[in-house]
Amino acid sequence: MKKLCLFVLFHLCISSAFAVTTIKAEVNGMVCAFCAKGIEKKLNALPQRQQSLVDLKSRVVALQLKEGQTLTDQAFVQVITEAGYSVEHVQRVNQSIEAIQAAMKQAAPATTGGPQ
């Protein structure tokens, strides 16, 4: 029992220490790749960026933060609005970009663009 408790405690510590933070938004007006390039360019310029994702079909823009880095939702939304789009919904998830992509592919095959 003691070993099990230690294992669970250890696992929890490890999980929280290496938790992935990804900011994810549903974006309105994002209808073509050429027009949405501004979002990618601005996200790529962020020092906090680990990986990013722009997906036209699901209207999702996501930014996975580097470990230990922070970015406010407001700053994330500003990147998108400055590219000319509006944000409908923002959330933080503990999923990597790869995991989000995999989920999207499962939901609708061939809809997802690659990580940026």
Binding site: N28, G29, M30, V31, C32, A33, F34, C35, A36, K37, G38, I39, E40, K41, K42, V54, D55, L56, K57, R59, T81, E82, A83, G84, Y85, S86, E88, A110, T111, T112, G113, G114
Partner: protein
Amino acid sequence: MRMPPTLACRTVVASLCLFQIHAEAAALMGFADSAMLMTEVGRYNQEWMLNYAPTVGHAIGIEQMRMSAKGEAATTITGVNYTGLIKRWNGRSTQANLWLNGGLGEARGLHEGFAYTPGVQFDIESTRLYFLAKTRMIRAPEMRYDTTAIQAGFSFYEASYEETQPWLVLELKSMRNTDPSLQITPALRFINKTYFLELGITNPGQGEGFAPRINAMFVF
């Protein structure tokens, strides 16, 4: 060849000042802090434009347009231009825009003197459908190449952000004082995240009016 200082100065001022172009795409400018290069090469008019958008919704740049009516010498307008986004509607799966643009410059060639080119454009598009209407005055002393155009198109399939998306677009464009005044251009459009390329044929099947047309845009 060395230009006289006054002429060189006028050319530079004019170059630094018209710009615009009726780009054949929804976007007349890029995102904040971006530059956009657009070009259109057709039989009756050739244009290129380079603009810079310091903020979303405003762009300034330089433009050169060359136009000629059938059997006439060409007129070239060089100048600066401003493009403003009057209103953007971002829907869940659509985007619509109302643009205002206007250029000031100098005409040279068949017609010479001060030139002005105010215009307005409305466009709406989804990931599969596209519509655009625009009108523009292109005027200089004794010159009126006012244009009005509508475009409609559809994409063959929905593409991901990483893929190139092909479209079929049909444009009807009337240009005052040209022959033929109505130009019908079916075109294939390819949209990628790094470029916009359109290859069309103006007035196919109309003998002398037949002409290829190329539009391209790049954003940096």
